[in-house]
Amino acid sequence: MSEEIAERKLRAPAKAVKSFSLLRVWTIATSTVTQLVRMKTFYFLLAFAVVVIAAGNFNIPSTPAKELSMIKKVSFGSMDLFAWLFAIVSTALLIPRDLEDRTLYTILSKPVRRIEYLLGKLCGVLVVVGVSLLAMWAICSLVIFSRESLYVADEMALIQEDGRYGAEEVEAQIALIREQGLRPELGFAVLASFFKAAVIASVTIFISTFASSSLFTIITSVLVFLIGHAHSMAANFWLQETENNLFVQLLLKLFKILIPNFQIFSFSEGIVQGEAVVAALVGQMGALTVGYIVVFLFLSLLTFVDKEF
């Protein structure tokens, strides 16, 4: 029998494959994007558009500047909320679902490194989050710009009708409205939301490598996010109550070390309120974001590299 087999014409060996391939990472990333898009996740943008348009039509007696400020706060606040929530939920669905469906078997039986798989999944989520943020920013900008134009026109008509104010005063009044309107610096607020979403996505991917289900991943990630936000507030609040309580102090320090500090990623609020943007600080936040992603990807690899299926 062996002679018979030996006589058979055999196939040529496979081509050599790269030890690490960005193209394989990108293949998994684009597949993830397709998956999330075809899950109709972008429909949440419709809900966001409704929120922003509603905010633009609140009829509370107020000055134009204050109304524009409110529209911005609601829009960018909702944008921030959608971004981090979407990052958690979409990331939490990926690996557990691949495990449950056993799609992971067929992927990892191909020449794909586990780090490529993790990186591909994370990149896919970040692409979707980034595109969503850009779409939301476009919607916000449209609403703010249209309201700003309307307010400026109304205000100018009112002032001119009154007749008592000079050109300088008119200009000052219009500038007050424009100060709360559409400004290019608001792009940094969008960037801040993206940084926050990127960090929580990398934390979620880490949790999903050892979690038993998507639900557990989502709940744990949300808890981590809330605790990560509460560092400073908790330190202020509880330390005032329990100044000499060593246990509470140690617990707070432990949380601070183990859990990411999400509060500092909320600097979008200051930008939305009209504060000047310090480019160097934004750069530092970007570097910190990259640091978080690298570390949590490494942790994900630690738990995932010899996980058995």
Partner: protein
């Protein structure tokens, strides 16, 4: 002598149950080889260690002891996985992808690009008969269609070794026959096929060699002839034999010391062959 396609040496796999000290030995000191170019069947009942062995060969699991190699390479190595095409028992693929997108996805993971990937995709879709359903999402595929797209992705990068896990489980007799024909064709095309199954009758028709595994250990191994032929019995099937001829044969046997006729009667086809004949006949009638 070519390098064996699969080489398993003293493989042991132990699973610990939870935090307790209890453990399960799924595979116990298993050794076997699959020669390049042959069809090898690893057969055994459910829970015998077939899937565990296969997963170690695929690199999805690490051995507790021993080793597994694919064409001389460590089974977990990335180059080894490029030599393997794997068809799982119930092929689960991304349901949001269409047939052609699935093949393109797996092809890209194996390093195929551009026109090479496109041509290969078209070729495989034709081979498995899914050209018309190529653009439909896998969520709308039947089980048989999923099996066929699974087979196509198995061959996407032209691997030397094809691993099939229960390839005919849950498939109707016609589909089952097609898969077996395909396995034989793969063999003729130079692929090495390593399959795991508990459907013994179906394995019988395609394998060059078979290993029987039970409770994690290899119990018997060899060619089918060696394993299942009853050495001191001979079968003879006659067509159009007259009663006189049969009488003469009876006398001849009776005159020979130590030889008896154990069984006699009309040959029987199998239910499966009958089913296939009826199905093929119905298909022909419909075509006419």
């Amino acid at each position: 002598m070519s390098v064996p396609a699969v080489e398993v040496k003293n493989l042991t796999k132990v699973f610990r149950t939870g935090f307790s000290k209890d453990y399960v030995v799924a595979v116990d000191n298993l050794s076997f080889e699959v020669e390049a170019g042959e069809v090898y069947g690893l057969i055994g009942p459910n829970g015998s260690g077939k899937s565990t062995t296969m997963k170690v060969v695929l690199g999805l699991m690490a051995a507790s002891k021993g080793e597994a190699k694919v064409f001389g390479l460590e089974s977990g190595a990335i180059q080894a996985r490029n030599e393997i095409g794997f068809l799982p028992e119930n092929p689960y693929f991304y349901k949001h992808l269409s047939g052609v997108e699935t093949l393109r996805f797996y092809g890209k993971l194996c390093g195929l690009r551009g026109s090479e990937l496109k041509d290969r995709t078209v070729e495989l879709l034709q081979m498995v008969g899914l050209e018309e359903a190529a653009k439909r999402r896998l969520a709308g595929y039947s089980k048989g269609m999923l099996q066929r797209i699974g087979l196509a992705q198995t061959l996407i990068q032209n691997p030397r070794l094809v691993i099939l896990d229960e390839p005919t489980a849950g498939v109707d007799p016609v589909g089952s026959r097609q898969i077996r024909d395909l396995i034989l064709k793969l063999r003729d095309d130079g692929y090495t096929v390593f399959l795991c199954s508990h459907l013994l009758e179906q394995v019988q028709e395609v394998c060059d060699r078979v290993g029987i595994i039970f409770k994690g250990r290899m119990r018997r191994e060899g060619t089918l002839n060696d394993l299942i032929s009853i050495e001191d019995q001979t079968s003879l099937t006659l067509e159009g034999a007259s009663p006189e001829l049969l009488g003469k044969i009876h006398e001849l046997v009776a005159s020979e010391k130590g030889t008896t006729i154990i069984d006699e009667g009309n040959s029987r086809t199998t239910l499966e062959r009958l089913f296939i004949n009826i199905a093929e006949q119905k298909t022909e009638d419909t075509d006419q």
